[in-house]
Amino acid sequence: MLRDITLGQYYNTSSPLHDMDPRTKILGVIFYMVVLFMASSVWEYALAALFTAFVIKLSRVPISFITRGLKPLVMIMGFTLALNLLMTSTGNELFHWWIFRVTDDGVALAVKMAVRLVLLVMGTSLLTLTTSPIALTGGIERLLSPLSRIGVPSHEIAMMMSIALRFIPTIMEETDKIIKAQTSRGADFESGNLIQRVKAMIPILVPLFAGAFRRADELAVAMECRCYNGGAGRTSLRELRFRRIDAMALIVGVVLLAAMIGLKILAAGGIA
């Protein structure tokens, strides 16, 4: 039940994408999102889809792993699809139903938005699938570090993120154990009305929070024992380094952007 949550899941294998500097990948994802939102014509979407497929292939992550991340989004996608389909009033009417007018513009917009969402989720999930949490937080720390001059605690933000990610499996395990222990004491989580069910969560939540505080306390003491005093002067075991693969990724990114702009100019020329 709890195992289905795949937040920040990392797929451990070796691929050009795994080898890349996390900073390249973080910037790449931002870049990817910009390109995706620039897309408007069918050809531009095809280009984005082709690029996504190429990157997925490159990552060596099984496609089933990536599509699994889409499951929780089915609701949202259905909602956007319906909204775009029914609420667009421009274009030629295809058919009429009750107070709704379904137009060709609406259909096109709905399909485009759905494709955009799918590509967005698949492309961005590759970031956590190919980057270990440690590398990811390291990358974020370095990317944020220029901001530390204006008082942004970049090291602390990264440390909190990595601790939070580290403790997700631990807390899951703990939750599972507490649920079983209270079940063995006759607790019932599945019947009763809403208020009774919420009340039934108390025997799980109180020990869970107590445990989280206990762990936080222990971790703080352990960190202090090892003389942790924040980011100043800290070095890392694995230095981040831009390599050839990162330069190549950059070139691919620029080519993609150029192709996207080229398609836009072509389309504009076609109309004019």
Binding site: K177, K180, T183, R185, G186, P207, A210
Partner: protein, 283 residues
């Protein structure tokens, strides 16, 4: 009576991380048994006990409860949960109520007992685990580690389960606390005549508390019988990362040195008695 036949259990089935925790385990628990379950970390003890307590998704194999065979584990699990009370490892981490009294009363309340019955159960359980009645109105979070452990055990004892399972109940306790807890289990079994299973990897605890034991290794049940029989197979135990009780090894050394002691000594008390006998006879 609970009987498991050819039970196999796999964690994360159908996933790359799949791991077989139990393979082909058969175990019969008669009413009134006082069984020790021994095994190295990761040998499958806890998984086996969770299946007996009806807390895991269905395993392969069959389960019968009180002579009734259940076609599917799900309906058996409902029955098992009613009969079996499981005290998990470090049970003090599961306390949640405002007062010790309320926490111990949680189980009996779920059993839909009347107020008077609940009160009686709570007080009896507190007495059983030797919890000072003055602590009943305190917050469980204000108690010491050892006291919390007793509250948590009392919470299951108060339900008077037909089968009481304790998973490593002495882990992290000091020697005095351990002695007291094991004595308490002995008394409970003597007075209640209900099934108790003590899961442990401490041979000392097993030797001094129970008469029969089962040994698990790599998800398999490899030995099952009287404690003396199990401890007489020291070499086999050692291949599983286990050992005979410390005192048995000392006695073995004394025998090799020429002292006429029995090979069937597994507790410090028995060793002391035997040695005293020899010393007296020599005077």
């Amino acid at each position: 009576m609970i009987e498991l036949k050819n039970v196999t259990y796999t964690y994360n089935k159908n996933e790359p991380s799949a791991r077989v925790a139990l393979s082909d385990v058969s175990l019969k628990l008669d009413d009134g048994d006082f069984l020790g379950l021994i095994g190295h970390t990761g040998s499958g003890k806890s998984t086996l006990m969770q299946i007996v307590a009806g807390l895991l998704p269905p395993p392969q194999g069959s389960v019968s409860v009180d002579g009734r065979d259940y076609a599917d584990y799900k309906s058996a699990a409902r029955e098992l949960r009613k009969k079996v009370g499981l005290v998990f490892q470090y049970p003090e981490h599961q306390l949640f109520e405002e007062t010790v009294y309320k926490d111990i009363a949680f189980g009996p309340k779920n059993q839909k007992l009347t107020g008077d019955e609940i009160d009686e159960r709570v007080r009896e359980a507190a007495r059983r685990v030797r919890l000072d009645s003055g602590l009943l109105e305190k917050s469980p979070f204000d108690l010491s580690g050892g006291q919390k452990r007793r509250v948590a055990i009392a919470g299951v004892v108060a339900m008077k389960p037909e089968v009481l399972i304790l998973d490593e109940p002495t882990a992290g306790l000091d020697p005095a606390g351990r002695d007291e807890l094991l004595n308490m289990l002995g008394e409970l079994h003597r007075d209640w005549r209900r099934t108790i299973i003590l899961v442990s990897h401490s041979m000392e605890d097993i030797a001094r508390t129970v008469k029969t034991a089962a040994v698990m290794n790599n998800g398999k049940l490899v030995m099952n019988g009287p404690v003396e029989e199990i401890f007489s197979r020291g070499a086999e135990l050692r291949t599983m990362g286990l050992n005979t009780p410390q005192i048995s090894r000392i006695v073995d050394g004394l025998i090799d040195a020429g002292l006429p002691l029995s090979r069937r000594i597994f507790t410090v008390k028995a060793a002391a008695d035997e040695i005293e006998k020899i010393v007296r006879s020599k005077r």
